[in-house]
Amino acid sequence: MTMGKVLDPTSTRDDDVASPGPDAGLLAGKKIGIRLDQIWRAWDWIAEDWAAKLEDAGATVSYWRSCGRSGEEGERMAAELKEWLTTIDMAIVGLANCGSCTGWTVRDAITSANTGIPTIAIATKNFEDFAHEIAARGGRSGLRVHVLPYPLNEQERGAVKAIGEAHFEGMLHDFGATIAMREAAE
């Protein structure tokens, strides 16, 4: 055995925000943004159903759809996202349902969380660990992630609707959101 010193080939970042950021709190009167993409129709369906529930709770909902992320298209997307984030009080960001789209979902969620607004990313089960890993590497290990079952996009509309219905309360819980005060007022 010949012992000696070798140089470390790795490089890591040390900065991290372990906090999940502020709770969403009471939804009534809030402007809630939902990030969509071009791939997952199941996420469009769930977003549509959740938006109706959020509006029932007294919130208003706007959407932003992520498209191409390179070239002029990518620059336009980045500018659009930045602008959209100034118009909302909180963000629901999906869908982490593949490798690159989990990357971009988490990246956009971090961009949102870094503005200081309550933010939650939505992932499917098989990409849950990856979403947390990529969030940590992006400097926000505490990013909120709500998990939907996998496979999701392969399901029919009715099944997806049932999943969205079943997960709405859980998403609100993970988001630190409440509609209780409004319900109490009613």
Binding site: M1, T2, M3, G4, K5, V6, L7, D8, P9, T10, S11, T12, R13, D37, Q38, I39, C67, G68, R69, S70, G71, E72, E73, G74, E75, C98, G99, S100, C101, T102, G103, W104, R107, F127, F130, E133, I134, R137, G138, G139
Partner: protein, 390 residues
Amino acid sequence: MSINLIKPSGSKIAPVPKPLVSRDCGPAGCEVDWLASRRHEADLDFEGFNAFAMEKGWGDGLPLVPPTESRVRMFLAENDRFPDEVIAHLPPSRAECTVEKIAINAVMAGAQPEALELLIAMVAAVADPDFELYGINTTTAPVYPAFVVNGSIRDQLDIPYSYGCFGGVATRANAIGRAFRLIMRNVAGQVTGVTSQTTFGSPGRLASIVAGEWEEKSPWAPLAERRAGISGNAVSCFGTMGTMNVLDTTSQAARDFLEQIGKSVPYIAANCYTPAMPFAEMMVAINPICAEIVGKEMPNIEDVQECLWRYASVPADLLQRQHREQLEAQGRVRDDGRIYATPEPKDFILFVAGGLGGLHATAFHSFGSCLTQTREVASPIPASQAQAAE
């Protein structure tokens, strides 16, 4: 219908030429220690070091050369770079990729010191936001960056551009691609099953593809000159799903060859028809025999691109309804009822390479909206020469 055209982002910063002068004092080192990496006590014997490296997560499974301080110093001493110079921040880890980290990984891979400037250019190229390395390093797809090298550096580094240029040639240049892959692992943080979600992976993720263009056999200007006006040493990187062989033992005329290639390239599950992104590029390597025939009839490469592009489409009704509807929503079905592989002919990126047996072309399908990047490979200026110039 509104086709989304490929336009590079406008935020690029033009590279500023600068003398490359080393602060390294050579293998013996100097009073100021410019190497910032953490030192690890390790067994330097073959079995011991490789077990250590694998345990640390540094390795790709093949034998590694221990990156001792003296080896890394030797590597740097034969170049003219500051070890602490930051070349890029690489996703998904967004960690700093310094010249020192490139050198350490190059030593581990077995690359020669003369390859440093090429490796730096490769890293700088993939770090361009238009290359979409974030998606490449995380996706479920098998994509990896492939590199085409122009200029005299091809021969200096024994980079293959003739027989077997995309794999199988016994050359130390293979270690350049492996060094790049180790940088993706150790600096960018691309680890299969952890950050990379690739479903199947690819042999190209072990040592990539680092091939040259056979410029001397090309009837057209070198790829880097056509793309970026660079007439000397340069590298173009392309995010590819892998190599696709196109066989033609029958054609005789230029347009026949191009029809065969053009019609072979598009298939409905190719990246160019994913609804995830609005556009894609396509790279094609034309063999020298075919290039000579095509070049005689089409001395302008734009005519070759146009001809290929016209053949490279599928009828929209070939796609299942759900798939077709997504592309229709993106405005990608043209008035002729077809969906083209790329938005425009210019998005077919062509170069000449391969053996003199001809008969085959190689197509490289792209990934997502990853856009090909071309960078100049810097020529080191010895410190004494730079100081004399001052």
